[in-house]
């Protein structure tokens, strides 16, 4: 027979992965709050989870790299959307240039 603690123990990974439905999540949190022994075990697993996060790189670009990517992104947008937002004066100028 599965005891209450075993049942909640099995739910720890699902809780940490955000997989528990709202009702079960609240039930799980209530159980953690009411059982200090289980809470310690849960905090340990939670710390492990944070340990995984620290092992995954989250590298930000340098100022120079960011600037370069911004310039290239601007160019892509400029080239892909050449005439999309031309105002009346731009369109008139294009039409005028087209005459010659």
């Amino acid at each position: 027979m599965i005891t209450g603690e075993e049942n909640f123990n099995r739910k720890i990974p699902a809780y940490l992965d955000g997989l528990l439905p709202e009702e079960e999540r609240l039930e799980f949190e209530a159980f953690v709050g009411a059982n200090p022994v289980f809470a310690r075990e849960f905090r340990q697993k939670e710390a492990d989870y944070e340990g995984v996060k620290r092992r995954i790189p989250d590298l930000r670009p340098s100022g120079e790299q960011l600037e370069q990517m911004e310039v290239e992104t601007r160019e892509i947008i400029q080239n892909l959307f050449k005439d999309e937002d031309a105002g009346t004066s731009d369109k008139l100028a294009q039409w005028w240039r087209g005459l010659f």
């Binding site: 990974p13 992965d17 955000g18 997989l19 492990d48 989870y49 340990g51 995984v52 996060k53 092992r55 995954i56 790189p57 989250d58 590298l59 930000r60 670009p61 790299q65 960011l66 370069q68 990517m69 911004e70 290239e72 992104t73 601007r74 892509i76 947008i77 400029q78 892909l80 959307f81 999309e84 937002d85």
Partner: protein
């Protein structure tokens, strides 16, 4: 949406795109190039969608939602492109500082790395990750489960620890 609006939409996301890119391809230059290539692909394929979308300069909440939508579309393209590029580059990609600093993470294949980065660094839900990467829910859960076990040095019963080859979780 106008050109300058589109740039305003994309610009704040660039550091995050770079972070994901470098998690998928552990090389500064390759990662930077990947960000730009995925941007071209993403804008080219969904050009009309983005032009048709409304962009109210004052609506900050709307900007958050639009960026989330753009990010999901972009992440899919970036991951697909990174998978192809990693296969092309193969072992020619140097084991630089990044790989040395995160050896366990870079043992996984590109798609597993994407799942891990999105879940652990961006706190995306399993369903969001699955929908974005076109992966069934059980596959996302399995990849996360294996990543957690392997990165904490507790290999699942079917996999030996210390195996230096790439792991497809």
């Amino acid at each position: 949406m106008r050109k300058k609006d589109l740039f305003s939409l994309v610009q704040p996301l660039l550091p995050r795109f770079y972070s994901l890119s470098v998690a998928l391809l552990p090389d500064d230059l390759q990662a930077q190039q990947l960000v730009v290539d995925a941007m071209t692909l993403c804008l080219l394929k969904h050009k009309d969608t983005w032009l048709e979308r409304a962009w109210d300069v004052q609506d900050r909440k709307g900007h958050v939602l639009e960026r989330k939508l753009f990010m999901k579309t972009y992440v899919r393209h970036l991951t697909d492109l990174a998978t192809k590029r990693a296969a092309q580059l193969g072992p020619s990609l140097p084991d630089g500082e990044l790989v040395q600093a995160h050896p366990q993470f870079y043992r996984f294949d590109v798609r597993t790395r994407a799942v891990g980065w999105l879940r652990f660094q961006q706190a995306w839900s399993v369903d969001e990750i699955g929908r974005t990467l076109g992966m069934p829910r059980h596959e996302v859960i399995e990849k996360l489960h294996n990543m957690r076990y392997l990165m904490l040095g507790q290999a699942p019963h079917w996999m030996p620890t210390g195996d230096a080859t790439e792991v497809e979780a």
